[in-house]
C-alpha cells in the first residue's frame, strides 16, 4: 500500500536572533513523514526538537529551506493562513494539558470548532470524548479532573477537528506512570486507526512506543530508525467501554 507523503522538509533551518546574537537552532533538516506513521522525535533539551515540532505544527516559520505539507509549499504563509491550517489539519497535546480553567470537558473539547469555518456538529465533540473514554465526565469542570483525565481531554480536543496529524509534546511528562501508560495506549490506538502521530520526548521509554525514532542533537538529525521491539501500552480494562 503506497502511503502518501504528508510532510517533506528540505534543508530546513531556523535561526533565533536575540539582542543581535543569532542562534542557529535547526541546521538543515531533511525529513519525510508519511501518512499513518507514529514518529517520536527524541533529543536532549535545547536540541531543537521543540522548534522542529513548532515548525511542522505551523506554530512557527522556518528561516530558510522548504516545508511541503501534503505536497503544498507552506514555508511562507501568513499568520492567519497558518492559524487556519492549525485549525483544520493539526491537533496539539501539551505537557501541561492547557485546558481552559473552570470549563466543562465538553466546552474544552469543543473549543477548536469555535474557530472553524465548518458548520458546528455536536456529535463530533461527543465522539471525540467517547474516543478517550470520558463520556461519563462530559459536564465535569476541568479542575475536577485528575492529571491523566486532563490529558485525555486534551487528546479529545486535538481529535475533534479530525486532523491529519497530531503533535504530542511530552504528553506524559506531568503524569504518573499509570496515567502515562493510558495516554500512550490511546495514542497507539489512534495510530492504529490511521492517525499520523508525532511525539516529542526526551525519554527513551516513551519514545519506544512509537514505530520510528528520530534523534536530534544540536539542531541536526543524528539518527532515524524503525523501532524493532516496540512497546505496546495495554491497560487491564478497555477505556473506551
Amino acid at each position: 500500500m503506497a502511503k502518501e507523503n504528508l510532510i517533506k522538509l528540505s534543508s530546513l533551518e531556523k535561526d533565533y536572533t536575540n539582542e543581535e546574537v543569532v542562534t542557529n537552532v535547526l541546521k538543515g533538516i531533511d525529513l519525510e513523514i508519511t501518512q499513518g506513521e507514529f514518529v517520536a522525535i527524541m533529543g536532549p533539551s535545547g536540541s531543537g526538537k521543540s522548534t522542529l515540532m513548532h515548525i511542522m505544527g505551523f506554530l512557527d516559520k522556518p528561516t530558510s529551506g522548504q516545508y511541503l505539507f501534503k505536497g503544498k509549499d507552506v514555508s511562507n504563509l501568513t499568520d492567519d493562513e497558518l492559524a487556519e491550517i492549525r485549525n483544520e489539519e493539526v491537533g496539539f497535546i501539551f505537557q501541561a494539558f492547557n485546558l481552559l480553567q473552570r470549563t466543562s470537558v465538553y466546552d474544552n473539547v469543543r473549543l477548536p470548532l469555535t474557530y472553524s469555518s465548518k458548520k458546528f456538529d455536536k456529535n463530533k465533540v461527543i465522539e471525540a470524548i467517547k474516543a478517550v473514554g470520558l463520556y461519563h465526565r462530559l459536564n465535569n469542570l476541568s479542575n475536577q479532573l485528575s492529571g491523566g483525565e486532563k490529558q485525555r481531554v486534551a487528546i479529545a480536543r486535538s481529535l475533534v477537528n479530525d486532523p491529519s496529524i497530531i503533535f504530542a509534546d511530552e504528553p506524559t511528562g506531568n503524569l504518573d506512570s499509570k496515567s502515562g501508560k493510558q495516554i500512550m495506549e490511546i495514542l497507539q490506538d489512534l495510530n492504529e486507526h490511521g492517525k499520523t502521530i508525532i511525539l516529542v520526548t526526551h525519554e527513551k521509554y516513551t519514545a519506544e512506543h512509537a514505530a520510528r525514532i528520530i534523534k536530534i542533537v544540536d539542531g541536526e538529525i543524528v539518527d532515524d530508525y524503525q523501532v524493532k521491539e516496540r512497546l505496546i501500552a495495554r491497560m487491564e480494562k478497555d477505556l473506551t467501554k
Partner: protein, 413 residues
Amino acid sequence: MELTSSLRIALAGLKSKKTRTFLTMLGIIIGISSVIMIISVGAGAQSLILNQIKSLGSNLIAIYPGASQESGPPPSVFGSANTSLKISDLEALKNYQNVPNVVAITYYVRGSATMTRQDNEFNGTFVATTADYPEVHDIPVAEGRFLDQEEEKNLAKVVVLGATVKTELFGDEEALGQMIKIKKHQFRVIGVMAKKGTSGFENQDNYVFIPVSTGQKIMLGIDYVSLARIKINSSDNVNQAVDDIKAVLRQQHHLDAKELDDFTIRAQAQAIEIFSSITDALTYFLAAIAAISLLVGGIGIMNIMLISVTERTREIGLRKAIGAKRKNILSQFLIESIAVTLLGGIIGIIFGILVSFLVALIARWLGYNWDFVISVSAVFISCSISIMVGLFFGLYPAFKASELNPIEALQYE
C-alpha cells in the same frame, strides 16, 4: 467565527471571575447612575419651578420699580428699595385707551408683622393690595369676601386672612366679623382665603391681605408700591401689552428719549425661559462632573483587562495554537470589556432610575409639585457611552492579547 460564540466565550470568561467583574463594573455603574440621576432630578427640579411659574399664569406681566438688565433679575432682588412706582402710574395703566389688553391690575406693598387675637399669635406677612388681587393671582375667597374698591382707597381697617393664619388665630372658630391686631392696629376680618399651598418661593396661606392705602399710610408710611401684576386678556397679546405699558410708564415718569427706563417689566414667559436656561446649564454641568467617574471607571476596566490578558497568556497561546486568528482574540477581549461596561451601564441606568423615582416620591410626599422625568435620550446616550468606554478602554488590552506569539504564550509561566 460567529459573534454568538465570541459572546459565549467572553461571558464564560466573565462568569468565572464574578467578584472581579462586579468590582470592575462598579465604576461604570456609579458613573452612569449618577448621570441618569442628575439629569432626572434636574428635570424634576426644573419642572417644579416651571410648574410654579406657570401656575401664576402665562398671561401675567410684572412691573418692578427700578431699572435692570434685559434678562437679569429685578433690582429688588438685591435688596435696594426703589420708590419709582406709584399708584398714579398704575391708575394710568387702567385706562383702556392706554393699554387695551389689560384685564386686571393689582399692586402691593408688603411687610412682616405679628398678628394677635386674644392669646393667639402668628408671625406672618401682610400684603397691602387692591381688590383685583384674587382675580390676578387666581386664588378664590373661601369665606366672606375680598377687599372692595372703596376699602382699597379709604384706609379701611379690614383684613382677609390666609388659610394658615385663620387656623392659627381662630382654630375652628368663626373668624368673620371678629377683630385681630396687626402691629397694634385693630382690623376686622371680612374674609378667609382658600388654601393654596406653596407657590413659587412663597406660601400665600401665611399672608393676610389689607387695603393698599392702609398698608402704605398706616402700617409703613410710604407712597410707592413694590410690585404690580397685570393680567392680560390673552398670552398672545403679552408682547403688545409690554410695549404699551412701557410707553405709558415712560410718559408718567417724564423720561425723555435718552433716559433709560426706571422700571422693569417682566412677562412670565420670560421668567420661564430664564429659569429653564439656568436649570439646564446646572444640570448639564453636574452631569459632566458625574461623567468624569465614567472616565475613572474606564481606566479601571483597562487595568483589569490588562491583568486578565497577562493571567490568561497560556489560554491565549492555546487558542492561537488550535486555530484562533488575531481577530478572534481581539474580538474576544473587546467583547469582554464591552460586556462589562454595557452590563454596568444597564445596572447603572436601572439604579439611577430607581433613585430618581425615590427622589420624586419623597418630593411629592413633601408636597412639591415634582414630576418624575426620565429622558429616553439620556438612557440611550448612557448605553452608547458605556459601549464606547468598553470599546475605547478595551482596545489596547485586546490588541496586546491578539499580538501574542503562540509559542511564547504557551510557555508563559
